[in-house]
Symmetry: C2
Subunit: 145 residues, 2 copies
DNA sequence: GTCGGATAGTTGGCCGAACAACGAACTGCG
DNA sequence: CGCAGTTCGTTGTTCGGCCAACTATCCGAC
């Protein structure tokens, strides 16, 4: 029973995901960030300081994953965490001035990633692919509940 | 610059991949395996004993990732590794008898994963999605070289 | 007011994943 | 024959990702 015969669609998702993530990693390397960290920073750049929990929810991360990732970003000086005065349990996260220097590189990396992902697809094909992915996402989300 | 605006297609790939992998992890948990290990075992079950390098290539894994994963599987008694007599650098990997007990569960998990991924898609829609993923894979592969 | 439950983050453990650096073994060329 | 270069696998380090267990804080009911 080979993988591709048991689950052709799952296998295809697997393969595309691997390739895409690997490409993202290579492109992002020039910025010095690891894949995923740019999501955190982009969320902070666009939405401003926010509670750690909200940030985790925004990019759909586990709380432990977010905590550790922020600890690393903080250590790199890209992020600042301050306890909220209102509720001493919550932590407010914000991007530092220093992190702003990375923004052009990150946007460039994502643009290039998108360019290389879209490839030579026509607009119509691109719409098809997006629609297909949306269908998959909807199905998978439905399977969670 | 939000992620979805910079790279809508990339973002969609990202999201589907996360959901799919998480679902795979949940389904596989019942077998006691971690996502990825089932790929190794399935390859060994179908193709028999083989060189570690060939195995890594078959499921497109990094050599270090394969080495460590096999070390864990070996520790669990699911896999046996013996040095090749012909070439003392190479290691021959084989699935143990004990591992065979997991086969039904693994196949069931992958079947369920596929079922939940396909969802209520018609055959035609399913073909569309597969074609779309194939196009993406082709594009991404082309971007590697 | 106090005590129990809910909420916010952290930490430990384990895994897959990538890169770099390394040692061991083989191969082929001069 | 000997040595350079290649191939095979391992180890170190650093990540993201998940679960489980824990601490600290807050809130609400009694």
């Amino acid at each position: 029973m080979s993988v591709s015969s048991v689950g052709p669609l799952s296998h295809a998702v697997f393969r595309v995901a691997r390739l895409h993530k690997a490409l993202a990693g290579r492109l992002l390397r020039e910025t010095g960030l690891h894949p995923g960290q740019e999501l955190v920073l982009m969320a902070l750049w666009t939405d401003g300081p926010q509670r750690q929990g909200d940030l985790a929810e925004a990019i759909e991360w586990d709380a432990p994953t977010m905590a550790r990732s922020l600890a690393r970003l903080e250590r790199s000086g890209l992020v600042r965490r301050t306890p909220s005065p209102d509720d001493r349990r919550v932590v407010i996260v914000e991007a530092t001035e220093m992190s702003r220097a990375l923004e052009p590189g990150v946007v460039a990396a994502w643009s290039e990633l998108e360019r290389r992902t879209v490839g030579s697809l026509t607009d119509a094909q691109q719409a098809d692919v997006l629609a297909a992915l949306a269908r998959l996402e909807e199905t998978l989300l439905g399977s969670e509940r």
